[in-house]
Symmetry: none
Subunit: 224 residues, 4 copies
DNA sequence: TACTAATCGAGACGGTACGTCGGGTCTTAAT
DNA sequence: ATTAAGACCCGACGTACCGTCTCGATTAGTA
């Protein structure tokens, strides 16, 4: 992530690095991302500006690393041995609902909200940073859903021809969009509903009784 | 939105307003949002800085109005009588796929991409602006889906207990997230798949007929 | 003093003119000349900016006229019939001292100080205005000294080869400089001393007769 | 004179300081004081505006220092060993006339005129700056007159009860006023006359010899 | 007395400069 | 060699006024 004639990272001051992380996160939480300045971070961290410019390319870069560090720390604290996973009780719907409820809680945690909003916003406009953000923070979480969906496929609860990476977006993206863009309220009910819609679809279940005239004959040759 | 001793909007210079819109959109497209400055907009528009500060509160505000104006213009040009609508051929899936393909095209249009990304990003971090952005630009479009889903409910193609406002997020939000956060590629195949997953659900169709090879054989194993 | 395509002064609003004079003098006294602005004068006078620009060329111009008006008013109030004059009691030294003491008082009058300092300062740097200032305000006063000195010459108290216009500078200019440039304190003693030095010269009187009655026995060892 | 968390003057850029002095003096000479802007000085000096604001409080402050520097330089160039002095040939009148003629020349030197007028004008209105101007630039010159007058007193050419600080104003102030306020022309004749009037006074010399009334016996080698 | 043209209060406009903030580079001294 | 400190050049900020330019609404002098 650093491009300059790489300084000697062996001599790097660990103390300064930590102080910078702390200052950056604190400032973003306190005054918001746009009013967080490199000078401000340096001053708060008791560090020279050059120390920041030496090791990072931009304000966003600093915050990204700081937030990554925070996340690692959090997951180390939370799960000593395993790094989070989605439970598998055999009931996919229930498992997803449970995890999404935790996510709802986390999205409201002010400790995470300010920096993650800031990074997400920066990522919208700055593709390079956006990709790092996604790769380092988002994808690992999404992968857990991929795994869980695969397990459900093995258990016959999800059709085998479904692409798990796309499937998970049916519940993850709506929640993400509501949070990111303030397009709607976020609640347990909401996420529960998403899971149900996603697993069951919107179309009426073909009445297992052949008599049913309705159905959805019009779209796609569902069934013979 | 203006706080100072409200300027007299009757005497406002229409010429300047248009020039400012044009300059703002052009600059965002050319150098990107963060490098677009109010000073730059004023200079390019041949306008005094104060004329911008008199009528808008911030750079984001200017761009938002400029973009709104652009959109209105576009929809006026496009649909003389009706302001866009989702076709209703009777086949919900087909209609949604068609509209989403248009959306995919539009998301790639550089004319719209720069300003809408910029505004979306700003809205992530600036809730006030975000809400205006959503209310003025996003919701009107989403409302069209609500209407179409309601029609489908009347036609018996969608369960009556489904909330259309949530339903539409099953295909809109995934697309939105991939575009906003660069979480994945965007293609016709992708949006087609979203529509199918959303309408049919992920769970296997209750095998109404034991022999039934149900599922959705037509589109095979989608995904990367 | 006005160069533009002369507006019709017959239609000029006397009310506005007076309000502008008052506002200008008040502002200069309150906030000082540099922080007195045309906009400020207009606002305070309840007058449109154009009304000022129509009749005056510059801030200095406005103030100059306002001050001239003030002076005329003052001299009309002070001396109904005669417009100031220096007394002629036959004792030139006494007359000059008396008038200079009045001048000392006037220089300390805050009503006059702010605007006259402002105008003097402007005149230092802006020769055109300076000349008007001198011609309209300073010279008329100096002329009174010229007259008095001429009278003294007729009375044999001042040498006939002395140029009165230069002579008066011996006491006027030192006082003026101390006031303008803050080069020294101003007091009755000081002006008295100036008159004596000027009339008697600095060189020792040739002790024509040891008992000589001339000289200036009355003022003893002046100065610190 | 600086109020902010005093910058470290040890690290001050000498190069910038000189460039700022040069630019300030040049601009004042070229476009006049009021049209000389801090921005202009910075641009011409190839310096950031902040570098000016860091070390000076105002435009007047910059110019004052620049002019002080110029004067020091000039006096260093002119008199390597002694820093100017008024000659003492034994003839006070002649010595004063000589020095005043030099002053007349200097007042016409465009190199000095613009900045010194500007500073004088500023000092009229801004007492703080005025006092610095006087103390640093004016008084040192006046002191030379004080010394010369004292010497004349010792030599019996000037009365012992005369205050030299006031005496010198008899010729300095008239010249100063004519120059500052454009109240009259400046010439060698004029300054010569001032010296004669000041030394001999305006009142007729007591006719030491009843016969010789005319001529100018009065100012030659004063004293018996 | 009504007409009508100039002046008036008001303030938006294109500009210039202000004084401040922060970005990113560079220098210094201390560790 | 890295660090804290901070001066430096630079660009943009948001504000204050400049002097010009419309706007109705008076407001005189003329018809």
């Amino acid at each position: 992530m650093v491009k300059k004639p790489a300084p000697d990272s062996a001599r790097r001051s660990e103390r300064s690095r930590r102080a910078i992380y702390d200052a950056a996160l604190a400032l973003v939480a306190e005054v918001g991302y746009p009013r967080t300045t490199i000078e401000g971070i340096a001053a708060r961290a008791g560090v020279g500006k050059q120390t920041i410019y030496r090791w990072w390319e931009s304000k966003a870069d600093v915050l990204l690393e700081a937030f990554l560090d925070l996340s690692e720390q959090a997951s180390r604290d939370a799960g000593p041995e395993y790094g989070f996973a989605i439970p598998d009780t055999g009931d996919l719907a229930a498992d997803l609902k449970a995890v999404l409820r935790l996510t709802v809680d986390q999205l409201g945690d002010p400790r995470f909200e300010a920096p993650s909003r800031a990074l997400a916003a920066e990522g919208v406009v700055n593709e390079q940073l956006g990709r790092v953000f996604v790769a380092k923070l988002l994808e690992p979480s999404l992968q857990l859903y991929v795994d869980r969906v695969r397990a459900a496929q093995s258990a016959g609860q999800v059709r085998r021809d479904v692409d798990p990476r796309i499937a998970l977006e049916l519940w993850v993206s709506p929640l993400a969009q509501r949070w990111l863009q303030h397009t709607g309220p976020i609640s347990y009910d909401y996420t529960d509903t998403l899971v149900e819609y996603a697993l069951n679809g919107l179309a009426p279940r073909t009445p297992d009784v052949p008599s049913g005239p309705s159905g959805t004959p019009e779209h796609g040759p569902v069934g013979p």
